[in-house]
Amino acid sequence: MEPVIDVKNLRTEFKTYAGVVKAVRGIDFKIYPGEALGIVGESGCGKSVTGLSIMRLITWPPGKIVDGEIILDGKDILKLPESEMRKIRGGEISMIFQDPMTSLNPTLTIGFQLIEMLKLHRDYTDEQAKNRAIELLDLVRIKSPKEVFNQYPHQLSGGMRQRVMIAMAISCEPKIIIADEPTTSVDVTIQAQILNILNDLRSRLNSSVILITHNLAVVAGLCNRIVVMYAGLIVEEGLDKDIFDNPRHPYTWGLLKAVPRVDEEERERLSTIKGLPPDLIAPPKGCPFAQRCSYAMKICFEKLPPYFDIDREHRVLCWLLDKRAPKADRSK
């Protein structure tokens, strides 16, 4: 099967007064049709910048994609002129942002904003566009779509606004929907509604979804493949069961153990990852996680590890998988 999108050696940097922040430092991944890929990591790991880079929404100054290719339909979209990119944005790839209040225009009705998008990408008459807009609102399970069509963003609750954002994102049946922390600012009950809708739409439209989040539990329900990012690099990639049942990177271990589970029987002390992520203005020359890793060896501080393949789907950026490394006990 051909991937829908193939990201190769993507590097994105930001110029600041303190120096150049290397936010994404050479990442590769592919997404196949109908797949849901989860990108997981903490603040500053480069997960959102990866999403914005695929949309080509990194603006200079201060940001710049300095290297890499993003292949969509055999074309490198990083080389396209802005006029063509505008057709891809919203048409082929669309994005849902974390904060639905700041991503909707407060002075325009929901209907106007949906129609604007539809008419930009499709040859609809006013009548057709309106019908389609109402149909879309219904699709994201908004109870009275005709009323909401004439309302302004401030009249809707956070959960409704996020659903309007999803309606907009799917309006042109894009090949890829990038959802950047779509449920971070909403309640758990609304989070469950939104994840349910996203999953339903993915199977119905056969779109691929990239879900960017810091919450591993959210990824577990929706995604079939997971990328764990740390300090601008992919440190582990695998199928959902690889990451949750057989994780191999100490950072993934730490992330999994740091969150309490609502279904845990006995209260156990949470394990922590000591310290803080490295400064990406001058990233360490070795493994970026070595400073915080309790398994770190001498080589980890000196040389960045290569990817070790566990199987066809599962790869890990860690020296512990080298033949010469001692066996690491995950429970430690």
Binding site: V188, T189, Q191, A192, A217, A258, V259, R261, R269
Partner: protein
């Protein structure tokens, strides 16, 4: 062993006036943020408060510490009712009951050094000499897991997790017995959340602190609390020990809330049936008649429209406000 009750809240109400009309003159509307909340906390224990946005959980914390004046009800702390005590006489109460806020960026004065931030509450309460305060500040920095050298720095030099630790040190500086923590880790990354939660647990043990832990993260609340209280639209829906409430939730709202929490395990998460609550929490202005949850409840009966269910103890230590469990 019967533990001593440190805080008892009785029928606490907080109504806010909302302005309506073009000139804000026809202000007859009341937002009932807290509408009769009662509970108690035992010494050395943690009560977790959960609920959606608009459930009144933050208003509860702020009303208890008297940042808001309660409309009605009692705040009995160590045997004395503080609900109507004059602002000027609240000093000793506020020394004993401290608050930790959600946003570690907004709750520290950017122009003070960490040393000054931690010493300020000691100054306000006339504790110690200046030299002693300096020593104490350094001591509490160490207690919360920071270094003595951090004392001379300013808040902007710290990460979110470190700032939350500074907030904790400031709260501890006046040696409180009760800490109200309003979403103390929500703004932090998961690996940092675990660090702060562990610190909370260590401090509780060391200083025999009691906590009111307010959060929307049910997994975290379950982890840290002895007992859990579920709120909806300003009222308590269910109270039980944290084990009971997760194993055996009674209220349909609690059941839906727990079911909505994602579990970090793809096999479990992809196969289980979730209860998806339709719609949003109703508005605090037009609270539904009878049971305020009935509009989103799938078990609604006739009585739910007419009579507001009261919180009743169904099993030992497990109370619920729902007509389904009327004896």
């Amino acid at each position: 062993m019967v533990k001593e009750t440190i805080l008892q809240i009785e029928n606490l109400k907080k109504y806010f006036k909302a302005r309506s009309g073009l000139f804000g003159s026809e202000s007859k509307i009341m937002i009932k943020a807290l509408d009769g909340v009662s509970f108690s906390v035992e010494k050395g224990n943690t009560l977790g408060v959960v609920g959606e946005t608009g459930s009144g959980k933050s208003t509860l914390g702020r009303t208890i510490i008297r940042l808001y004046d309660p409309t009605d009800g009692k705040i009995i702390y160590k045997g004395r009712d503080y609900s109507k005590v004059h602002e000027g006489d609240l000093k000793s109460f506020r020394k004993s009951v401290q608050m930790i806020f959600q946003d570690p960026y907004a709750s520290l004065d950017p122009r003070l050094t960490v040393q000054e931030i931690i010493a300020e509450p000691m100054e306000i309460h006339n504790l110690y000499t200046p030299t002693e305060r300096r020593e104490k500040a350094k001591y509490f920095l160490k207690v919360v897991g920071l270094n003595e050298e951090h004392a001379g720095r300013y808040p902007h030099e710290f990460s979110g997790g470190q700032r939350q630790r500074i907030g904790l040190a400031r709260a501890l500086a006046v040696e409180p017995e009760f800490i109200i923590a309003d979403e103390p880790v929500s703004a932090l990354d998961v690996s940092i959340q675990a660090q702060i939660i562990n610190t909370f647990e260590d401090l509780q043990e060391e200083f025999n602190l009691s906590y009111l832990f307010i959060s929307h993260d049910l997994a975290m609340v379950k982890h840290i609390s002895d007992r859990i209280m579920v709120m909806y639209l300003g009222r308590v829906m269910e109270v039980a020990s944290s084990k009971d409430i997760y194993k055996h939730p009674l209220h349909p709202y609690t059941q839906a809330l727990i079911s909505a929490v994602p579990i970090p395990d793809p096999t479990v998460e992809k196969s289980r049936e979730k209860i998806i609550l339709e719609g949003d929490i109703s508005s605090n202005i037009n609270i539904p008649s009878g049971c305020r949850f009935r509009i989103r409840c799938k078990y609604t009966m006739d009585i739910c429209k007419k009579v507001e269910p009261q919180l009743e103890e169904i099993e030992t230590g497990h109370s619920v406000a729902c007509h389904l469990y009327k004896k």
